[in-house]
Symmetry: D2
Subunit: 462 residues, 4 copies
Amino acid sequence: MCGVTGIFNHPKAANLAYLMLFAIQHRGQEGAGIVSSDGKNLFLKKGVGKVGNIFEEKEIKHFLCGNAAIGHNRYSTIGHSCLENVQPIEIKHLQDQIAVCHNGNLVNAHLLRKELENHGNIFKTTVDTEIILHLIIRSSKETFLEKLIEALGKIQGAYSILILTKEKLIAVRDPLGVKPLCLGRLNGAYVLASESCAFDLIGAKYQREIEPGEILVINKKGIKSYFLPHCQYKCQKKAQCIFEYIYFARPDSIIFGIPADSIRKQLGRELAKENLTTADLVCAVPDSSNAHAIGFSQESGIPFDQIFIRNHYIGRTFIEPEQRIRNFGVKLKLNPVPSCKGKRIIVIDDSIVRGTTSEKIVRMLFSKGAKEVHYRVASPPIKFPCYFGIDTHKGELIAKQLSLEKIRKKIGATTLSYLSLQGMYQAVEKFSLSAKDFCDSCFTGKYPMPIPKAIDKFCLEK
Amino acid sequence: MCGVTGIFNHPKAANLAYLMLFAIQHRGQEGAGIVSSDGKNLFLKKGVGKVGNIFEEKEIKHFLCGNAAIGHNRYSTIGHSCLENVQPIEIKHLQDQIAVCHNGNLVNAHLLRKELENHGNIFKTTVDTEIILHLIIRSSKETFLEKLIEALGKIQGAYSILILTKEKLIAVRDPLGVKPLCLGRLNGAYVLASESCAFDLIGAKYQREIEPGEILVINKKGIKSYFLPHCQYKCQKKAQCIFEYIYFARPDSIIFGIPADSIRKQLGRELAKENLTTADLVCAVPDSSNAHAIGFSQESGIPFDQIFIRNHYIGRTFIEPEQRIRNFGVKLKLNPVPSCKGKRIIVIDDSIVRGTTSEKIVRMLFSKGAKEVHYRVASPPIKFPCYFGIDTHKGELIAKQLSLEKIRKKIGATTLSYLSLQGMYQAVEKFSLSAKDFCDSCFTGKYPMPIPKAIDKFCLEK
Amino acid sequence: MCGVTGIFNHPKAANLAYLMLFAIQHRGQEGAGIVSSDGKNLFLKKGVGKVGNIFEEKEIKHFLCGNAAIGHNRYSTIGHSCLENVQPIEIKHLQDQIAVCHNGNLVNAHLLRKELENHGNIFKTTVDTEIILHLIIRSSKETFLEKLIEALGKIQGAYSILILTKEKLIAVRDPLGVKPLCLGRLNGAYVLASESCAFDLIGAKYQREIEPGEILVINKKGIKSYFLPHCQYKCQKKAQCIFEYIYFARPDSIIFGIPADSIRKQLGRELAKENLTTADLVCAVPDSSNAHAIGFSQESGIPFDQIFIRNHYIGRTFIEPEQRIRNFGVKLKLNPVPSCKGKRIIVIDDSIVRGTTSEKIVRMLFSKGAKEVHYRVASPPIKFPCYFGIDTHKGELIAKQLSLEKIRKKIGATTLSYLSLQGMYQAVEKFSLSAKDFCDSCFTGKYPMPIPKAIDKFCLEK
Amino acid sequence: MCGVTGIFNHPKAANLAYLMLFAIQHRGQEGAGIVSSDGKNLFLKKGVGKVGNIFEEKEIKHFLCGNAAIGHNRYSTIGHSCLENVQPIEIKHLQDQIAVCHNGNLVNAHLLRKELENHGNIFKTTVDTEIILHLIIRSSKETFLEKLIEALGKIQGAYSILILTKEKLIAVRDPLGVKPLCLGRLNGAYVLASESCAFDLIGAKYQREIEPGEILVINKKGIKSYFLPHCQYKCQKKAQCIFEYIYFARPDSIIFGIPADSIRKQLGRELAKENLTTADLVCAVPDSSNAHAIGFSQESGIPFDQIFIRNHYIGRTFIEPEQRIRNFGVKLKLNPVPSCKGKRIIVIDDSIVRGTTSEKIVRMLFSKGAKEVHYRVASPPIKFPCYFGIDTHKGELIAKQLSLEKIRKKIGATTLSYLSLQGMYQAVEKFSLSAKDFCDSCFTGKYPMPIPKAIDKFCLEK
């Protein structure tokens, strides 16, 4: 996934970029970085781990100076999790300083890199973001904007990019609009973020989604919008990631124009229409499936209950008693309440990727005395890998490998069913969105652009 | 609050004590400690902060040896938060080694300490737990059990104590049974914990609550139960802390014999019976009020919805933008979904202590466009300080200072109402519990024992 | 060894105590602590490791308040190296606060502790210093000074003690004056330290050694000297530790009234008189034997040279290549210069305890091509354990186990000789000191007081 | 300065590179790094600070794999002290991996970098070492050796370079041989280091200095020597840094073929011949001037004594009492023995750069009661900046700004004199070295190559 944040024309730019990163921490916890600009210099600080552990107050106040800043939360889809690969990536080149960060994946990154290396360029990271910088620097065009447009013309994939130079902040969304990126205002300042919940935290007002193919240039004079040449009359076709609605985004975010939790509740309602069964209660796999479960309960009339209690103190450094004790990881996080004993329970899950958590969830319920466990999934079976920013490798997708009945047996549920593709689109159409504006390749295998061979997570390191 | 855990006769004693501490981390996050025994020596490790940050795998495996262990999560009610004051407190005395930890508060601690110091005893901490050790050591009785009973005869207050010596583990609950303490089995081992959710994590089976006034002695020969002299024929009267049901305990724990979440849902139902209003939806102040809100929704028929989204990445080290920005702390943790706009909302809160969070909750909803905010509290107004382990100082109790209407104005709600004392007891009586077996002094000011003057949090340090 | 520092009546008391601890860091590197007093409260900070790693500027400035302070560098002779055992040891008792630290060893500590425990006292550490506090607290005398004198009357051994209460600083030296302790002035302030080099660092002026059996009480009114009852007319006999001159003290310190480096050079001269041989050059085992070697060179006329080069970057965390590579530890610290090739070398060592370093020194010289290595030791053979603060266990003393010739063979030297006891005393008598005022029990086995059985390093932990 | 180490064909390559870095830690303490090769991949670990604090045992054993390694100690002459600028610098480029580190300074680095950036290359650091990598990558030559020679043909300055690729280790010394670099053997392995003392630590045998202009290629087949084209018939003229003898190198190292301490003692002897005076004793500013002082004493017959005692516990984190207390820094490290009172003292210093330490040294002696302090410097006055790796900025050189008499007054010495340039060369000629083979530009201003304008420490960052 990854998350990006940006701000222009605010005296506490780095601090607000930091707060916004904090709000979208769920989009990536492997590393984070902020670059600020005071008009004369860029200042960079990045680190491995979570936002709250990387930045110190003094640094934010005294080192990350200036009225503009961009920030990034890293979730590793390309390249190893080392400090070098944490974004933003910043370079000094002649008189210029440029920093860039992005959410998404370039599908032709390995081809472009090889070409650039053959021309004598040296890369300092293994993340695809760096390629954009090399393409800009090597461009023979005159202005920075022209160089950028030439560079963007060469890259293919999903990208929501923020670029910071000494004097300007630029936001770009790819022509298909795969990943979200939205614009807001905070008094006189412009703010940008992958999700609108970042604006809520700092009291900024959500304005709109950046358009697919749009290039937004913000500087002292104000804001100006451009479009990539082939998107000049706006893109006919979009390929927005449907999984942002199903799982990625925080429920309190407005994504592609619609609040995520509204879509989720509707997905739960559609699921109830398609897959009803008799039961005593409906519960969610917390916390990502809460909205789906509430929708299901409202549609079906079966009471919603909170069955799984979360332990909020999970940290990185946990010592398990013995490796052979199975399911320990989930037990630390979740525990069913005693009152589930003797009950017929419908469990709502947003999706199933590998199925390991589902198996533990079902087992925990039965071991606490549940009578029946009906597993309901608020999205279709995931059968195909994603090349645009989600880490799903073929071998791990349970629905690619097993039939519905075999999945049910494996996870141990009394019954199992998924939402249909049609049901999923009925949910989004309820909000006047069009099915054809979404990428559903993880369910259907129909990719919105050609995928070059030999692409995988570490392809830039080979 | 504080939490205690204990285990006897298990080869991974310290590791399981550690896991159980982790499960009841919500009872205290200021420090934690474990003492183990291998029959010949006691081994102690303690630290400041949360369980997951204090213990390292190597220490647990190689240093905290033996088949028995006790552990403690500290929530500071008495004494400063320094390492010395973290429990268990362990002493070496002649041939003996004794470790002790407890949940609760001794109301005559300052008097006993002064007396002991006048006799030439030196204290190493400012926590009341240490007094018990001095009383045992100074006792002229013959056996350890006799010494312990003599010591317990001198202390007054609420205490659920675990004591570990080289050969035995002893559990004691005060004659009024103020604080919970339960017994479980894990194959051949006995386990003890403040809450039964600790047993779930390690796969142990809940057996029963320790009785008020009971002294349970576990050694190689087995388990044996004694009672404090004045409790020999079981105590007539109990004073169990009702607040364990309302707020303290995890909803998945069995407390005083009944699952906490069942009581909570019933409190929500009683609240709905007493305080209904027209509204579009019911929501909870997460996560502690979820069960109350679900009960309210079920009783009233008004749909339950998840309005507040929690940020799960809150850490200790957070940098706020400016101190004058109000409400920042809560905004970091909670954000309402956009769909609350235009809605009439019933917010369920388990209780109000100082009212500062309630105020922020209401303000957040209105700033997101809520039409009406009806604040409903699933317990009576808290008007009196607690001397048995909860940190409520008179000056801070909003219901002590303001009338209902003034509280409503201060928090900014459309309407405000509390559950009545009668309603609260109807909820517990639904589960065959008797109102007279509870301490409700925080609501009524009727304390179950005389409270000596000049008792406060730091009284042992003066 | 251990080192103590104290200061009274200076606005930067804790900072100066810290600096003085730093100057005498060589006396103990296992832990350090400082207690300060602002007249109303004592403030304590201690830690494991070296002074420079334990204290932070903020703590010294803002936490360790007041005009008086005492500090301690720990070298573990009694008790384990855990934080609890780091001195000063501080207690709160009724209205009083008392902190104490000492350099030395109490030989009847285990007997006194058992007695106190039988009376119902509980100890919080395993260091003998704590016993003094219990004895003071239990004394039935009226004034603090009377209580202290009663307590001191019960302890036996070597002790240079500093005590800090809210209003006064007290310094005590045992009746035999085994360990050093000196008094200085810094403008209006009184300073105390184990060695005078601590005064140089802070610009204080050396005044005098505290007398054996003297009790110095410093408070707002000034300084007052008392003597232990049996020392009232000054002690006839002293038992000053001769090893302070040979090895312990820094050469720039005045010890027992005489600069240590002057005595050392004289020891080297006596060694040259007794044990001359033909050679090309004289060198020292750096840095502790430099002065002895210079004295030897001056007396003998054989040129002094610097053969061993020290690596100043040795830290705690060093990774050796393989455990079987012998002598690695010393090679990291010392390396001979290439020009020692073909030379006949006299190596001067201050003393030999276990002989392992000597062996490595000789081997390094021969492996660099030295022709002859004549090992000369500037003190007599160490054959007996020390019970007063030095960590020499019988089994490890090479001179107790092997003859001179066998030692020579083991360390591989061409020739080996020690300074005689007579030669050693001729050196100190040169400075008008009397041989009978020294403890030489490590060479002779003649202890200045009876030693109870069963005393060893961990005797208080059994 | 900086220091480099390398090793080829040893199963513990990284560990030995680490140990050698430790031995030459004095050449740079701002950062260190190691790159190892297992024939298929390079592995890099670097950090800020000292060697002992950067590397952990596990990393060295399990991560820094392979039979070959190079290491670097950083002393910042070019670029800021951030992690990015720590060497070795390692790149991945197409199928290749190359790591490089060097000791020295390129005087045309800023010009080359600008040229490369104009060609579209992006730099990841601000250290001049990186330029060499870009020049190699951009070379159109066929083989790696040809590319390297082309790259070296473009750079000017002082450089002792180590390069590691997957299969080979290459060592290069600039045509003038400004900085040292020597070759050794450890059984079947080749080792390289800036100073031979690194070989002593690991038990390797010193073989020879790398020749000026020599390129040594070590791979599985063995070792092969090449020369830079303009050095094919060996360089006529060398410009070896005389300051390596005076101050930089450890005295136990063989530098440019001669043990450093032998030269130093001879410098002291020449100083005694030129600048004798009547005195009671000769002492050194420890530890760097010890050998010079011993030479002076031997030539003059005035006894050598150890006057300054060093505190070996100086760490980074030291808290000074107040900033206005002058001279504190030196007092922490050095303290004169009390016996210097009333003495006429000759102090030998290897060199004077800014004069601040000299001033403190003289003041300390007088404040301890010295009668006369005769300051003698074992090298000529430093009047010109060094562009080849020493951090001497014009403004700071006291001898550039003040006359001899004014310097004497400033430092407060009774008399002051320097060794003459002639005397310095007589010392080296004693060892059959030729005066014309040395760079003495810091004394004479005669640089061995033209120096481009605008060169300074941060020139690559502008």
